[in-house]
């Protein structure tokens, strides 16, 4: 597998998308969405921006499966860390059913 050279026009497109994402997240911060949606909107934009950086600036879209495996493993462990910790805090106030 030879090295894939990402062309500058793709970098420019990603760069512009990241700038638009930053502007959107800034605008969204001053607009009040109902309920918990504010956090959801802000985090969704952040996740999209991060994904663009990883796929194009960090060339993961053109990388081998081993790199993908390593990244997926990292995200998996991150989810485990959050999920198990929150399964504790979330349920502390719960009353026993009987």
């Amino acid at each position: 597998m030879s090295e894939h050279i990402v062309q500058p026009r793709i970098y420019i497109a990603i760069f512009l998308a990241l700038m638009v994402g930053t502007a959107l997240t800034l605008l969204a911060a001053f607009y009040d969405f109902p309920g918990p949606l504010n956090a959801v909107v802000a985090l969704t934009i952040a996740v999209i921006k991060a994904t663009l950086v990883v796929l194009y600036f960090m060339h993961v879209r053109y990388s081998g499966r081993l790199v993908w495996l390593v990244i997926v493993a990292a995200l998996l462990w991150l989810v485990i860390m959050f999920a198990i910790t929150f399964s504790d805090y979330w349920t502390r106030a719960w009353q026993p059913p009987f």
Binding site: M1, S2, E3, I5, V6, Q7, P8, Y11, I12, I14, F15, L18, M19, T22, T25, L26, A28, A29, F30, Y31, D32, F33, N38, A39, A42, L43, I45, A46, K49, A50, V53, V54, Y56, F57, M58, H59, S63, G64, L66, V67, V70, I71, A73, A74, L75, W77, L78, M81, F82, T85, F86, Y89
Partner: protein, 250 residues
């Protein structure tokens, strides 16, 4: 190296090829994979702090809104843009080495360093503001413990702490512990990144890189982009998430 192995190389080996790799291609891919494994440890490291942030934000929403609203959104937004531009110039530095343009590589690396230093400069201005408003947590600063002036209802002085209902100064301090730990560790990564850029710059200056050998630029780029990604999450979480609740509280 055993002689049998040496003859398996089709061409004369590149001077940068280490003896335990079959060819430059394999060497480059191994380096990239190794860098990603390192970045996984970084993800878990910052992940722990993001977890702490999430937990305490969930427990003390009012205090986090109050504290977040005291941060300078303008400087935070400018710094986000500065970092994104620096990620772009870093990506262009990688491209320049891949196509063998030495002068463009040097230019891109210098631009990346200027932007990185600019980010740290703006960060320092922000830290100074927090120092002035006595928001540096605990007793980190001798003779200047955490002790912001709390604004009375109706007061608009931006240097005073405006607490929303249910927020306490102690929990605002907790936010600032997390703020300084996260942005401080991020800034430390930026400083290390600048050191790496300097080494790359010297190597590029001496003509060490070529389309066959540019792994150091590539994997340093991965590091730089990772630090950018951390900020992409820090900016909305620290600066923005409480902003729209201003009207609801005090």
């Amino acid at each position: 190296m055993p002689e049998g192995l040496a003859t398996t190389h089709e061409h004369a080996a590149h001077p940068a090829l280490q003896h335990h790799f079959a060819n430059m291609e394999q060497q480059r891919e191994a380096g990239t994979l190794g860098m990603w494994v390192f970045l996984v440890t970084e993800i878990m490291f910052f992940g722990g702090m993001f977890l702490a942030y999430t937990l305490y934000r969930y427990q003390y929403p009012g205090a986090f809104v109050s504290a977040s609203n005291h941060l300078d959104i303008k400087l935070g937004a400018i710094n986000t843009a500065v970092l994104i531009v620096s990620s772009f110039t870093m990506a262009m530095a990688v491209y320049s080495t891949q196509v063998g343009r030495q002068r463009a590589t040097i230019l891109c690396l210098i631009l990346t360093m200027i932007l990185g230093a600019g980010f740290l400069g703006i960060k320092a201005v922000e830290y100074k503001q927090k120092y002035n408003d006595r928001l540096i947590p605990g007793k980190l600063i001798p003779n200047r413990p955490f002790g912001p002036e709390v604004a009375k209802p109706g007061e608009t002085d931006p240097h005073k702490l405006h607490l929303v209902e249910g927020a306490t100064v102690q929990n605002v301090e907790l936010f600032y512990w997390i703020y300084f730990a996260m942005t401080g560790m991020h800034a430390l990564h930026m400083i290390i990144g600048l050191g790496i850029m300097l080494v790359l710059l010297i190597m590029a200056w001496r003509g060490r890189f070529s389309p066959e050998y540019h792994a150091p630029v590539e994997i340093s780029g991965l590091y730089w982009h990772f630090v950018d990604i951390v900020w992409i999450f820090l900016f909305p979480l620290l600066y923005l998430l409480g902003r729209h609740l201003e009207g609801h509280g005090g």
